[in-house]
């Protein structure tokens, strides 16, 4: 925001408002509280103006013979109305413009447009996954006519088309708004979609031999106003009106895209992006979006276990924690190592730090996960909270730098006990035989792996959707995870487990709520002073100034 923006006067439904120059008419109306139905218009995309749903009546100030606007009795310009309706999405406001959003002409236009859009629509809402969040449904209730006058045969178009590995297309439902085409072209920069043929036979397609396989393809499903593009993963799984929507963040990489987790009866069915211009605009990648199904895996660890002669046996939490405490107390300062995870929340990391301090060990680090960053959202760091781990001193500036030393000492038998928090030790270069050498291996995890199978005490924890907490993304933004589903079996929140482990070592510590942990953090860490879960809000709080080398986020409007 450099120079003060010029304000323009616009009359909307008889009332004069002021808007910034450059506002589109449809946005001005929205700001004035007048909703204008639209299909092709999307605030983050260009406006082709092809759906005709946003037609309004528009007028320009009447100019007198002196080339100046005529003023009415109220001192405002007199508006001369354009006889034909205009689209409101592709035009910027001008000084003295008049808009009628609810005149009889406008209503008639909407009626007409809805009738045309539905002429070739298959009306298969009962099987359509979009039903319940479909603009065609909503507007036909609000602006459409109940019956159709169209008696002729409907145009047949391809159905059940696999546009790509993750997107299924039903061309009969398509209303040719071109949002998906524009998204792929303008945001994903992978121009594979287009309209073929013409007239009422026009259909959406990818070029033969090309597939919609971009890592951002599922965003087209989100922005599709009707049920033409559907997610193959979510297809026919659950009706959207059953989904409980929980605001959360994606934990698949360090970007921390804001999401909405859709779950029903403890099963997560989908994850969709939530608009946050400071992080992910309105998009997210397919990888993060679909990386949710492990939460509902039948293999999830459900009961605390301890190693007995025959192998791991289910025990009560009390017994398991007591055993863990007993084992940890046996070992000297540096014969214990703590392998934490940068997938943990700040609260868990904070308690982990306290656990490390009370154990007195210098061997602690997180496991780095590096991947390829793309030019859009995905960051090279695939751990969602590396910054948190650094902030609380679990790891150094170079995450994972201590791991080599630790693995060597474990292999040589110098380190005899390991606390593995959410990480598989075989991933840091330890063989199963090395794990067997350990006297004590306390594992907190959610899915079985080599490490959990060799644990001496196994404590089942929660997946990202089952806990509350905060994380710091790569750009230093503190964001909140929210509780969407319940953990399976007796699995417990990670922070509770770590707190209980800590209690085994130091006795009662007066922490009963996750809010207590956050309060403690906020009191200690200067960057977080004065913050609370409530203050973080749905869109997060910027903790540190955005650094230069952080991933830029695609912000094309």
């Amino acid at each position: 925001m450099s120079a003060p923006t010029e304000l323009l006067n616009v009359q909307i439904d008889g009332v004069w408002y002021q808007f910034k120059k450059g506002t589109r008419v449809i946005e001005a109306c929205a700001q004035a509280g007048k909703f204008i139905p639209h299909y092709c218009y999307h605030p983050k995309l260009s406006s082709p103006g092809n759906c005709r749903m946003c037609l309004i009546e528009m007028g320009m100030p009447k100019t007198g013979p002196d080339r100046k606007p005529e003023l009415g009795a109220d001192g405002k310009p007199v508006i001369s109305w354009i006889p034909r309706p205009q689209i409101s999405c592709a035009q910027d406001i001008t000084e003295g413009m008049g808009v009628r959003t609810d005149s009889s002409l406008v209503r008639e236009c909407r009626h007409g447009v809805m009738e045309f859009l539905l002429i070739n629509h298959p009306l298969d809402c009962p099987i359509c996954d979009q039903a319940g969040e479909c603009h065609l449904q909503e507007y036909s209730v609000e602006y459409g006519t109940a019956g159709s006058r169209f008696l002729e045969e409907k145009v047949k178009k391809p159905k059940r088309v696999e546009l790509g590995p993750r997107v299924t297309l039903d061309d009969e439902r398509c209303i040719l708004c071109s949002r998906c085409i524009r998204f792929m072209k303008e945001i994903a920069h992978d121009d594979v979609l287009g309209f073929a043929s013409r007239g009422s036979h026009t259909y959406l397609t990818a070029h033969p031999g090309k597939r919609l396989d971009s890592n951002y393809s599922l965003n087209t499903v989100d922005i599709c106003p009707v049920g033409a593009l559907t997610s193959t993963d979510f297809r026919f799984k659950m009706r959207v009106w059953f989904l409980k929507e929980t605001k959360s963040i994606c934990t698949s990489c360090a970007t921390g895209c804001n999401t909405i987790v859709g779950s029903r009866e403890n099963v997560i069915y989908r994850q969709t992006p939530r608009e946050n211009d400071a992080v992910n605009s309105a998009w997210m990648c397919d990888y993060g979006r679909l990386n949710i199904h492990y939460v509902n895996s039948p293999d999830r660890l459900k009961f605390p276990q301890v190693r007995e002669a025959q192998g791991l046996a289910n025990v009560s939490w009390k017994t398991a924690l007591a055993k863990a405490g007993e084992e940890l107390k046996q070992f000297q300062r540096n014969s214990v190592a703590v392998v934490a995870s940068a997938k943990m929340t700040n609260e868990e990391l904070w308690l982990t730090k306290k656990l490390i301090d009370s154990l007195g060990t210098v061997y602690h680090d997180v496991v780095p996960r590096a991947g390829q960053a793309d030019q859009l959202l995905m960051s090279a760091d695939r751990n969602p909270n590396t910054l948190g781990a650094q902030l609380f001193g679990i790891t150094s500036e170079y995450p994972g730098s201590k791991l080599r030393e630790m693995t060597e000492k474990i292999a040589s038998g110098e380190i005899r006990a390991v606390v593995a928090l959410g990480e598989d030790l075989t991933q840091i270069g330890l063989a199963e035989s090395d794990l067997k050498k350990l006297t004590a291996l306390i594992v907190v995890g959610i899915l079985p792996n080599e490490t959990t199978r060799n644990a001496s005490v196994l404590l089942p924890a929660c997946a990202f959707s089952e806990k509350r907490g905060t994380m710091i993304n790569i750009k230093g933004r503190l964001q909140r995870l929210n509780h969407a589903t319940l953990a399976p079996g007796e699995a417990r929140d990670d922070w509770e487990i770590i707190r209980d482990l800590l209690q085994q070592l130091t006795g009662s510590n007066g922490i009963y709520l996750i809010d207590d942990v956050f309060k403690e953090i906020a009191e200690t860490i200067p960057e977080m002073t004065g913050l609370s879960f409530g203050r973080i809000g749905d869109h997060g709080v910027q903790l540190v100034e955005e650094s230069e080398d952080a991933q830029p986020v695609a912000m094309t409007v």
């Binding site: 298969d124 009962p126 099987i127 039903a131 047949k156 159905k159 026919f236 009106w241």
Partner: protein, 176 residues
């Protein structure tokens, strides 16, 4: 703001209650005498008397699923009945009709369709909400079972009870 409700002033007869009590006793004894002398109509004596023959066409018995004249299951698993069901008796798991199937154009079908008859309140909202005319309340009303499991009607049972319903709207006819 609080305000005072003025209570009616009672006269002596009302204060001693007795006239009211006697009137009340008169009313109750009249009902008693009427039923003893057979003047009062009472409810139908169920196991001996049954209404089966006189059930009206709109009678709401057990909800069932129906097939059409081509043997197609009409339900497309839209789950509106599951949504509308006040006691949440209905559970549906949807599936996709394979490409090779005769009815592939319908695309979606219920892999599992269960109605918990212990929960069902026979309100008929499922029938009313069904956009495919697939679920109907038939005239079975004495739904019994020895176990809870038995009282959960699965898809097979629902089709067995529902049978075939012809002459309904056949909207998938002209779909590709």
């Amino acid at each position: 703001m609080a305000y005072t409700i003025s209570r009616p002033k009672l006269n002596f007869a009302e204060k001693v209650y007795l006239p009211a009590i006697i009137t009340g006793l008169g009313i109750t004894i009249r009902h008693f005498i009427n039923i003893v002398t057979g003047k009062t109509k009472v409810t139908m004596q169920y196991p001996e008397e049954k209404w089966d023959k006189k059930l009206p066409p709109y009678y709401r018995g057990a909800p069932t699923l129906v097939k059409d004249e081509y043997g197609r299951e009409r339900c497309v698993a839209c789950q509106l009945c599951e949504f509308i069901c006040p006691p949440r008796a209905i559970t549906i798991h949807a599936g996709e009709i394979p490409e090779k199937d005769r009815w592939r154009k319908v695309e979606k079908f219920p892999k599992e369709f269960e109605i918990d008859m212990i929960r069902c309140i026979y309100c008929g909202l499922c029938e009313e909400v069904c956009p495919e005319q697939a679920i109907f309340l038939r005239k079975d009303y004495a739904i019994t079972g020895l176990t809870r499991q038995e009282m959960v009607h699965n898809k097979e049972k629902l089709y067995e009870l529902g049978g075939v319903m012809t002459g309904l709207v056949y909207k998938w006819n002209d779909k590709k």
